[in-house]
Amino acid sequence: MAAEGEALTVSGYITHHLTNLTYGKLPAGFQRYDGSVVDEGGLWTFAHGGVEASAMGFAAIHVDSMGWSIGLGIVFFLLFRNVAKKARAGVPSGLVNVIEMIVEFVDNTVKDTFHGHNKLVAPLALTVFVWVFLMNLMDLIPVDLFPELLLALGVPYQKIVPSTDPNITMGMAIGVFVLMLFYSVKVKGFGFAKELTLNPFKPPSKGPLIVIAPVLIALNLFMEVVGLLAKPFSLGMRLFGNMYAGEMIFILIAALFSAGWLWLAPAGVMQLIWAGFHILVITLQAFIFMVLTIVYLSMAHEDH
């Protein structure tokens, strides 16, 4: 259950489940889990345990998160592309119906919230919704299934829910943030700078009080920038937090199985109940991520 260096305890089990499969560069002189010391020039390798992963610093990549994320993105693309090819004006059936329902739902949400003209927003919202939903859906796969299978194949760590990795959720949130900044500047131009500096305290433009204008502008800028940065941060962290907490509960219930055979039935029932409840959470979180993406981009397009 646990890789080398981790005791087969409940905390070891949980730690193992919360460790990504990390590929990165270990710094020179680092003492590895088996006692060997990394040579001059560092070593590109898979991390064994959280300590090694931390030591890799920024120059590392979560292979499992990235792989599942891109894999699910491809699933999304192939599924929808297949339907897009089959979609005709005639009577739709089966899968086409389902996909069109999702597309229409996203389209209506975008139309309700976003009033500008932008060809990017609706496809962006669809991608975000379906992709995040698929990533969250991985949470419903029994927690031990893939890690144990891959462990048998020699892969020491595996986290199959990409949205429990803050890199993934923040990556998308920052992507949205970049789009926000881009459209704010593109649509509002200099108005964006005014928006950041002239609110919420309107600096006086004449009279003796004009001396405090720079102070107010600085204050406004500080508050607005904090507010602006809070948007992507809360967007990414909300999804991460919810999914991480949900996954944690699955892991904790799974840990009950090791507490003796008496716990087998209750823990199984709990898994089912939490999975049923979690279906709502994963859908809701995907929806919230999509709606906030639309709202933020809508704010970027609108002058106050």
Partner: protein
């Protein structure tokens, strides 16, 4: 829980998938849906039009039917009239014909009677003469007595 290159990897993947969706997924699905919407709207409009047409046609048909009934009633009426007229005419003709036949018969009868009377008269004259001849035993001058005899005959 480390922040590392995965962040940029995901940003890159995000851009790629959004771009793919914008290019290859969204437009065809939405186009198909819009086309279907238009088709359905057209169909509904056509159905509306058709039902309107049907109503109109039904009204027209009812009107035509009424008209036809009226016409038929008129025709029957006039036919009845004409039949009555024909019957009357036939009756009249028959009466006239009967009268004519009757008159002709009467005329013939009269003629026959007259002829018979004439014949009788002439024979009576002859018989009277013959009888008188026999009674008198002498011949009677026909020419002398003719007027007398004829006067007698005419009184018959």
């Amino acid at each position: 829980m480390n922040i590392n290159l995965t962040l940029f990897g995901q940003m890159f993947a995000f851009v790629i998938f959004v771009w793919l969706c914008m290019k290859y997924i969204w437009p065809p699905i939405l186009a198909a849906m819009a086309e279907r919407e238009k088709k359905i709207a057209d169909g509904l409009a056509a159905a509306d039009r058709a039902s309107q047409d049907l109503e109109l046609a039904q009204e027209k048909a009812v009107e035509r039917l009424k008209q036809a009934k009226e016409e038929a009633a008129g025709i029957i009426d006039s036919a009845n009239k004409r039949a009555n007229q024909l019957v009357e005419e036939a009756k009249d003709t028959a009466v006239v014909e009967a009268d004519r036949v009757k008159a002709a018969a009467q005329a013939e009868i009269e003629q026959e009677t007259n002829r018979a009377r004439e014949q009788l008269r002439s024979q009576v004259a002859a018989l009277a003469l013959a009888g008188a001849e026999k009674v008198l035993g002498a011949s009677i001058d026909e020419s002398a007595h003719r007027d007398l005899v004829e006067k007698l005959a005419s009184e018959l």
